[in-house]
Each structure stands twice: as C-alpha cells, then as structure tokens.
Amino acid sequence: MSAVAVEGVWKFYGDFPALRDIHLQADAGACLALIGRNGAGKTTLLRAIAGFSRPGRGKILIFGNEPRATETRRRIGFIGHGISVYDELSALENLLLYARLYGLPDPRARALEWLERTGLERVRDGLVREFSRGMRQRLAVARAFLHDPSVLLLDEPFTALDDRAIAVLQHLLRDALARGKTIVMSTHQLREALELASHVALLVRGKVAFHGPCTAEMAADPGLVYARYGEG
C-alpha cells in the first residue's frame, strides 16, 4: 500500500481547474519532490493531500484512508507557508498546545525534547512574537515533527530559512527518511530538494508533466527536469 496515493484528482477554483487529473504516489520511506513554476498547483495539491480542502474529483488516500480521517491526521505533519505557531504564546506553550491536541502521552516531556532538538530550550518561556525569524522557523519545524508523523507534507520548506534552520530541517528530514517516514515537499530550491528526493514530480499548469525516480543526473543538474519536461 502506498503511503500517499493521489488518484485522478481535479481541483477547481470556480471554473478554473487548478489541478487536472493528477495521479501520483509515494511509498513509505520515499521522498517526493513536487516541482513546478509559480501557479503550477503545488500548494493546492499539498493542501488537498493534507486534508485542508477536498478535491472536486478523484481521491486522495494516506495509508489507504482519506486525509480527514482522525487517525490519518495523527500521521500527518505539515509545514506550510506560515509557521502555524501563536505569537502571543511562549515556545513551550505552543508545543504543549499541539502535543495535547495530538493526544501525546507526556506532552511536557515531548515539548521539551523538541525545544532541545531545535536549539530553543533556552528561550522556551519567551513569547514567539519576540523571536527572530530563524527561531520562529525552528519552532515551526518542532511543531510539525512533535507527534512523530509518518507522512511529512512540506510546502516550500527551505524558503526564508536561515542557515541554522536549514541545517536543522535537513538533519531531521534525513533522519525521518532513515526511519521509513514519507516526505512530499513542494519546492523551488531544487538543489536542496533533489539531495533528499527519491522521486520527482513536475507540475505544469495543474497537470503532472513528469513523475519518476530522481536520478543522479537530475541531482547533478537540477534544471534538467524543467528543460526536458517543462515548458522551457
């Protein structure tokens, strides 16, 4: 069974088809990089996989279940364009909130563990609104990994990260892949993405123009997929 299966998915905004008959799959332990120009449908697809919106046609399955099933949501970690943490709460309060919402057995211990892993333990009681951009990004990463998700959905995960946050995220993603987790990420930063990716899917105007394994050739020349399968 695929960890993530997208079967004939269409998504419409009014009459405009943002996604057109998308077929994709990612097995457990795979890292699928979704690439494409702005407006190609990467974010729309990731949000549909995460269960934030329902497809107009087709279906999406996460380990055989639909994304909005409670058990499925327990297995998904999502990093979107926003950091999804509250400015008016402290770092610890934010992680405690999500640890409780995910029903983790020892919320405080788990929150403290992730503050330490992301290098935020010294500012755990500081309000997020006082954090630097890099610290906020690391807290967002801790929030997404807190419940040890089986599927990580990452929308432009390396955008606007400082060097330390990129290093933290790359380390965590490699560790997750080594433990058999599945990653689906959309990105414009091809070099960072293709270093991790086992598979690549190129979206062009809401359609899959290419889907296949990430070869050494692609990793060496990140523009190759665009040149060969894109619109130039």
């Binding site: 934030f52 409670t70 949501r73 926003g82 008016e88 999500y98 409780r100 995910y102 309000l127 929030r143």
Partner: protein
C-alpha cells in the same frame, strides 16, 4: 483525545492569547460602556418608558459589543496560518468550534457582567431585584449570540470585509434570540418575575440555543474544510 478535552484545550489557548493581548476584550468593553453612557444622556433616567426600553437597549449594546469579540475568534488564527495547524490536528471540527465558542462565551459574558453595573447606575435601574433570573436570561442569550457569531466567524474568516460581513450575517439569524432576551430582560429589570406569559420567550430562547448549537456542531466541519 476526547471531544470535551480537545474543546477545553482550544478554549484555554484562546483565553490565554486574549489575556495576553486584550485586543478584543478592551475594544468590546470600551464600546459597551461608551454606548451605555452616551445613551443615558439621551433619555431621562426617571421616566418609566426609559426603564421599559432599557432592556432592549442593553441587548443591542451586548450584541454589538459581542461582535467585536466574535470577529477576532477565527481571525486570531490568520497570522502565521495557525488555522491550518488546528484543522490538521486530529480533533473534530465540532470540538474546535466548541472550544472557540466557549472562549467567546467567557469573554462576552465578562463584558456583559462589567456593563451591567454601569447600566444600573446610568439608567437608575435596580437590575439586581431579579438577579438569578436575569443571570439565566443573560447566560442563555449570550450563548445564542456566541454560537451564531462563532460559526459565522469561521465562515467569514477568509473574507476581506469580514468585520462588516459578520454582523450582517449574524444579526438577522439572531433576531428571535434577541427578541426573547429583550422581552425577558425588560420584565426582569422592572421587577416582574418570569410568569406564564413570559415563559414562552424563555422556552423560545432555550429552543434557539439548542437548535443552533446542534446545527453549528454538525456544519462546522464543512465550513472549515469545504
């Protein structure tokens, strides 16, 4: 995680955030007190007609002041895309809604409880003469206001003119509850108990709360995800 526990976690999060920022409660309380004070200059506090309409005035103030709290309810989730993380969490949309509604209920009720003594002083009304019954009406009317306001706050969260849209959508639906609360409050403020005649309004208020709470809990998942 259990339904009520999840709702409690969401409620505590919203209350903690509001206590830190005080952005909704300050605006709402300020609005309520200013309107009550200003209107008190327009009417003669000794006149019986003033006392008769003051219950209605009180609920109009509560409804408008409440909208300032309710507008912030889901809008609070917009910075940093926090709503995504809440929707992604393995809790039901109904639990999320209930948590937010309870937090709003506490905040709106707090504004009302501070406004009542101001109302008593400026309108020369002995509002404590039927205190228990008045608190019951306040609790029921405020729950109706909160439930409708919270569900429309979720519906309008991504609309650019949500501050305008929320009252426009909320008040027409709230009309039966506001009518009932006004009629009951008018009687209680002049010292009359809830009798057989006014009990109909109380039943209507309870029915409104039950029906709209059930409908909101049922529909909120669709409102949040589509």
């Amino acid at each position: 995680m259990g339904f009520f526990r999840a709702a409690l976690v969401v409620m505590m999060k919203d209350l903690r955030a509001e206590v830190r920022t005080k952005e909704a409660i300050n605006a709402s309380l300020g609005f309520a007190v200013v309107i009550l004070v200003l209107f008190s200059f327009a009417f003669d506090p000794e006149a019986d007609t003033t006392k008769a309409i003051s219950g209605g005035l009180l609920w109009i103030v509560f409804a408008f002041a409440g909208a300032l709290v309710l507008n912030r309810s889901f809008a609070r989730e917009l910075p940093n895309d926090c709503l995504d993380a809440l929707v992604a969490a393995p809790i039901s949309g109904a639990a999320l809604f209930l948590g937010k509604a309870l937090a709003n209920y506490v905040l709106v009720l707090a504004v009302e409880l501070v406004s009542l003594p101001v109302f008593g002083v400026f309108y020369n009304v002995r509002w404590t003469s039927r205190f228990g019954e008045l608190m019951l009406v306040l609790a029921l009317g405020t729950w109706g206001l909160t439930v409708i306001g919270t569900v429309f706050s979720a519906l309008t969260v991504n609309i650019r003119l949500r501050e305008v849209m929320l009252p426009m959508l909320t008040y027409p639906i709230l009309t039966p509850a506001l009518m009932a609360a006004m009629r009951l409050t008018m009687e209680l403020i002049v010292g009359n108990a809830i009798g057989p005649e006014t009990a109909r309004w109380l039943r209507m208020l309870i029915g409104f709360d039950v029906v709209y709470t059930a409908v909101s809990l049922f529909l909120v998942e669709t409102v949040l995800v589509g």
